[in-house]
Symmetry: C3
C-alpha cells in the first residue's frame, strides 16, 4: 500500500539531472463538466510515482481541439513539463479529437510510440486498432496520448515506460550516444 | 454455395440500429476503361454479405486523385455510407494514388487499421510493407483502403472485421463506453 | 573476406533492367565537421554491395533540414538514384530532423517501411519506439531513413532487403502484377 498522498511526493531526481516533471491531462466532456469523476488520471499518477516521475500537474479538459491544444502549449512552453500524458479522446467518436489537438502543437511526431502501444493492445483486443493515439515532441516536452479507460491508459503506459527515461533525456539534449545505450541493452539481453 | 444474387440481399440490421450501408470502390485504370473485369469488388461484397453488411454501392474508378476523392466525398456526404472500402492503388507504382486521394478527404485518420493490416500481411510476405493503405473518418463514414488483388483485399478485410462493428457504432455516435466493451472482450478471452 | 574495393565494384544489373543506383547519405553534425569518421555509411555500402546494389554516391551532411532536403532532392531529381538511404538524425534529440527533412521532399509516403523496421527492432530493445524513421517516394526514387548507429542501420536494412527489389521495380513503372508476385511468395512458403 502506498501511504503517500500526492502532496507528499517527491520524485527521485534523474541520475543525470534531466527533468521528470510530468503532467496528466484528462480529456473528457463529462469530466470537465463535473459529471464524471476522473478515474484514469489518479491511476496514471500512481503508476508514474512508482517509477520515479514527479506528477506536478493534473487537469481535466473537455473534448475540444482548442481546449486540449491550449493546455498542451501552456504545459510545454510555460510550465516546462518533461512529459505530458493525455488520457481520453483517442477513439473514433465524433467528439474524439485529442490526436488532432496534439498534432496541432507538435514540432516533431514520434510515430513508433502509437504503433508500439497499438501492437501491444492488439494482442488483447481487435478494438485496439481504432485507438488513434499519437506522440511527439514540442520543444523539450514529450507529449503522448493514452486511451481514456483506466485499464487501457495504464496498459499503454506500461508499453512506454521502458523507453521513457532515455527518450526524455535525449529530448532534453543528453549528448550521450543512443547506439551505445541500445547496444548495452542488447548485450544485457544476450547474457 | 451462396444462391442469393446481390439484388436479393438484405443485410441484418445492426442490433443497436446503427447503419451498415457499405460501398466498395475499385480503383483501377484498366478496370475503369473496361479492359479488366473487377475481381476484388465481388469477392469483398460476398465476404461482407456473410458478415451482415449491406453493400449498396459498387463502382470502378481510374487511378486519379480527383476521381477517387470525388467518389469518396459523394458516398460519404450524399449517399451517407457507414463504410467505404476501396480496393487498388495502394502500392508504390507511379499511378498508385489511392492513399493520397483518401487522405485528402478524411477529417481524422485511424492509423491503427493500416498498421494492423500490414502487420498481419507481413507475416505472409515482406511485400506487405509497401502497401500504403490508410483509413480514417469523414463525417460519419469510415473509409479504409484495401490492396488491389482479390486475395490481398480479403485477407486485409479479415483483419478489420472484428473491429468494424464497434468502430462504425462509435463513428455514428454510439454513447456506450469503449472501455466496457473492451473489458468484456478481455474477460471473454480470459475465460 | 571481401577483396573488392568500392571502386572495383560493378553491381549485378537487375534482371528486368530496372535501376539499382543507390546513394547513402550520412546525417551527422560531427561527421560533417570531420570530427567523427562515418562508420555507418561504409557498413551499409558493404551490405548493399553483397545484395547487388550499386552504391554510386556517399556523402555526409549536417543535421540541418535544409542540408538534408537539398541533397535528397539533388540525388533524386538530378542524379536519378533508384534508392537513397539516410543514416542518422532519426531520434528525438533536438538536432534530429532527418524525418522532417525527408517528409518535406517526398511525393508519397510508405509508412509500412518505418513500421516494419520499428516492429523488428522492438523485439530487441524498447528504444526502437523512438526511431522516427520515415520512407517514401520522390519521383522514381525510394528514400528510406535508417538509424545512425552502424548496428542499428544494418539491422534495419535487413528488414527492408526482401521488399526492396519489387518496390524499386514498381516505383520505376514495372507493369507486372503485384498480386502475382505476392501469391508466388505465399505459394513458395507453403511448399
Amino acid at each position: 500500500m502506498n501511504v503517500h498522498s500526492p502532496a507528499d511526493r517527491k520524485s527521485e531526481p534523474d541520475r543525470k539531472g534531466f527533468s521528470r516533471r510530468t503532467a496528466i491531462v484528462t480529456v473528457s466532456d463529462r469530466g470537465a463538466r463535473g459529471e464524471r469523476k476522473d478515474a484514469s488520471g489518479p491511476v496514471l499518477e500512481e503508476r508514474l510515482f512508482e517509477e520515479g516521475y514527479q506528477v506536478c500537474f493534473k487537469e481535466v479538459v473537455p473534448d475540444e481541439v482548442e481546449a486540449v491544444s491550449s493546455i498542451l502549449k501552456r504545459l510545454s512552453d510555460e510550465e516546462k513539463m518533461a512529459l505530458i500524458l493525455t488520457t481520453g479522446g483517442t477513439g473514433v467518436a465524433p467528439r474524439d479529437v485529442t490526436p488532432e489537438a496534439t498534432l496541432a502543437v507538435l514540432d516533431r511526431t514520434v510515430p513508433g510510440m502509437g504503433e508500439a502501444m497499438r501492437a501491444a493492445s492488439l494482442t488483447k483486443t481487435p478494438h485496439a486498432m481504432i485507438s488513434r493515439a499519437v506522440a511527439g515532441v514540442r520543444g523539450m516536452t514529450l507529449i503522448v496520448n493514452l486511451p481514456g479507460s483506466p485499464k487501457g491508459a495504464v496498459e499503454n503506459l506500461e508499453v512506454l515506460l521502458p523507453a521513457l527515461p532515455h527518450a526524455l533525456d535525449k529530448i532534453q539534449g543528453d549528448p550521450s550516444e543512443c547506439a551505445a545505450m541500445i547496444h548495452e541493452d542488447v548485450r544485457g539481453k544476450d547474457r
